[in-house]
Symmetry: C2
Subunit: 124 residues, 2 copies
DNA sequence: CGTTACTATATGCAATATGCAGATAGCAGG
DNA sequence: CCTGCTATCTGCATATTGCATATAGTAACG
């Protein structure tokens, strides 16, 4: 538990774009995995970029960490759906991710400028 | 080989911030792994964020894919150093990464704006 | 009724990535 | 001799991911 969560803290720092996109969607409104997969295209995830299994497993992981919760929705047409909603913890995590993403963008801008010669790198 | 490289292509799309930082540094001037580790702090990587083994293994991977090449430098004081230099392939890869990073920044900006209420998400 | 297709969720397996710990080794200072 | 810093590398356990596959409901076609 403890070491598990500590590890999570570290990894939290490393990108986690898919989690951020999923949390953003679920924060906007409750929805199920298959719909999330479709909507991920809004964030540049083409079907060949993410496997559906990755989406489902990310959802399970987020639920295990209480970032989201699910309920089953009986469907009269087609199979039933597991509907996800964001939790208070999830909202906080999302906010953290967004803050961290801003810092990452600073670094990315720095890297772009360096590589385009708009900035110098002095090593001392 | 083939499936290996195809897989690489996919993963290429997924962040690879550490590779970009390392290639940027090695593109600037030849240097060894331990120095790279220190200089990574310029890109926000604090010592607790990256393990030295990850740096060395990333360097090995990059060399296996001909993005960089290494030579041993005899050191009169302290242990010898493996000095890395970027290759033409590596420079092209770096340029690709930078281009892709620009696109990712667009998405990140979109996510930030969405989460700060500066933008709406209409799902249809 | 059998087949195909689309929606929807889930798992097994293999490959890859990563942190942690430790091995090896040179050099310097006490 | 021991400690500490520099420098590179490997073993192990765990995490993540893509691919393939299983399961299952509905609908359309012949």
């Amino acid at each position: 538990m403890c070491s598990h969560d500590e590890a999570r803290q570290k990894r939290h720092k490393k990108e986690r774009m898919l989690e951020i996109c999923i949390l953003t969607l679920v924060n906007h409104e409750m929805m199920h995995g298959y719909r999330i997969l479709e909507l991920l295209q809004r964030f540049g995830y083409q079907p060949e970029d993410v496997d559906i299994s990755t989406v489902y497993r990310t959802l399970h992981r987020l639920e295990n960490h209480d970032r989201i919760i699910s309920t089953w929705e009986d469907s009269s047409l087609g199979p039933n759906k597991r509907i996800y909603a964001i939790t208070e913890t999830g909202r906080r995590m999302l906010a953290d991710h967004i803050e961290h993403m801003k810092q990452r963008m600073q670094v990315m801008k720095q890297l772009i400028d360096l590589n385009e010669g708009k900035m110098r790198l002095d090593l001392d």
